[in-house]
């Protein structure tokens, strides 16, 4: 079903909207949730929570791109759940690695990012990602937005894992410099 029609179903408060969303984007959202959480049951629950959140958000909001709207909700819910899991020390793969990789590009020690307001940081990252060259941008987004593994990115773009790692490393370094500049 066309996205516009699905959104119209939400506006009409027709519950088939959820089934249609699940049919069209269930697997897509599950992949991201699973990338973040690594646990099947948790990922499935996050996807179900996504449908509930979407149901409560539309109407009032009319997403321009439904797929990305759902993705943002799934990603945020999964990260919330990840935090809870981490507190219980159940731990999970790619997210831990991604956080660790990102932590390496933050200058100084401690909660230095506290100096940058949340909104300011989002804007900074948005501009940084947007200004990256095509390949680097795609790789960065796959790794840190979709939380894809390096191997999955390598397969996706037909490159070697080494090449992906190098490019990510360079991009993180660039980001580190920008953050450093922002904080000084």
């Amino acid at each position: 079903m066309d996205d516009t029609k699905i959104i119209d179903l939400y506006f009409a408060r027709d519950e088939t909207a959820i089934g249609e969303t699940d049919r069209k984007y269930g697997a897509y959202c599950y992949t991201v949730a699973h990338n973040i959480l690594s646990i099947h049951e948790d990922a499935e629950e996050c996807v179900n929570d996504t449908w509930l959140r979407t149901w409560n958000s539309i109407p009032s909001q009319r997403p321009q791109v439904l797929k990305l709207f759902l993705m943002r909700i799934t990603r945020n819910l999964s990260l919330d759940r990840f935090k809870a899991i981490k507190a219980k020390k159940r731990g999970s793969g790619e997210t831990e690695l991604a956080i660790e990789e990102l932590s390496e590009c933050i200058p100084g020690a401690g909660d230095v990012l506290e100096q940058i307001m949340e909104r300011e940081l989002s804007q900074l990252i948005r501009e940084f990602v947007h200004a990256l060259p095509d390949v680097e941008r795609a790789i960065f987004v796959r790794r840190f937005y979709f939380l894809d593994s390096v191997k999955a990115i390598a397969v996706r773009y037909g490159m070697s894992e080494g090449s992906i790692m190098t490019r990510l490393s360079r991009t993180r370094k660039k980001l580190g410099k920008i953050l450093e500049k922002e904080m000084s």
């Binding site: 990305l68 945020n76 990102l102 190098t166 490393s169």
Partner: protein
């Protein structure tokens, strides 16, 4: 905490950039499609230019004065030890920095090392060294200098390094990546950590190269 905050902030990037990562693979395949016809055409043009250059140099074509140098600053050096090799090249593992002056070739234990910036990563500090022995390519090594090493070490750890050898007291762990047919070796030399990707034809070649590099 900081990393998590960054990860959250990345969630706010533009829709266009997210979509770009999805459609980029299509763009790549289009580029590859172009490459299918571009490569043979480029090869033909280069071949004809080569013939013309040879004719020109041999005096058959054009001027009486052959072109003295085609533009390459080509150096050839023989080293007797790895240390000598290392000391002759500033920042031993960043050989590619010499590329500013052109291609660089050196001979070491009968193995000719031709260094070049990594073909696929011309903007990055990783360098490709192609090793030839008796006109046969024995290995291609990607050298990752200094700060990138940690990232590579992590990859190697993720591969859960399967093999470990000791060469003159230097422990070398290496892993084989089945998809890419390369080996990744991690070792500690002169107080520094190094990680090198090897693209050899065989495991034996890898060990031979490592032995030469480390046994001096």
């Amino acid at each position: 905490m900081n990393g998590e905050k960054l990860l959250r902030a990345i969630g706010e990037i533009d829709d266009a950039d997210i979509l770009h990562s999805e459609t980029f693979v299509e763009k790549l395949s289009v580029r590859r499609k172009h490459a299918v016809w571009f490569v043979p055409v480029a090869a033909c043009v280069c071949f004809m230019l080569g013939i013309a250059l040879i004719l020109k140099l041999s005096g058959v074509l054009g001027s009486d004065h052959p072109i003295p140098n085609a533009g390459f600053d080509f150096k050839q050096v023989a080293f007797s030890s790895f240390e000598q090799f290392a000391s002759a090249v500033p920042d031993a593992f960043a050989i590619g920095r010499l590329q500013k002056e052109g291609s660089y070739e050196l001979e070491y234990h009968g193995i000719v090392c031709l260094t070049n910036k990594n073909r696929s990563q011309s903007n990055y500090d990783s360098y490709l060294v192609v090793l030839h022995k008796e006109n046969t390519v024995v290995a291609e090594i990607t050298i990752i200098p200094d700060e990138d090493v940690n990232a590579y070490k992590k990859t190697a750890e993720n591969h859960s390094l399967t093999n470990s050898i000791s060469i003159d007291g230097t422990a070398v762990n290496y892993a084989r990546n089945d998809d890419e047919e390369y080996f990744e070796a991690v070792f500690h030399l002169n107080g520094e950590d190094y990680s090198i990707l090897f693209y050899p034809r065989s495991e034996q070649a890898l060990i031979e190269i490592l032995r030469i590099m480390l046994s001096e």
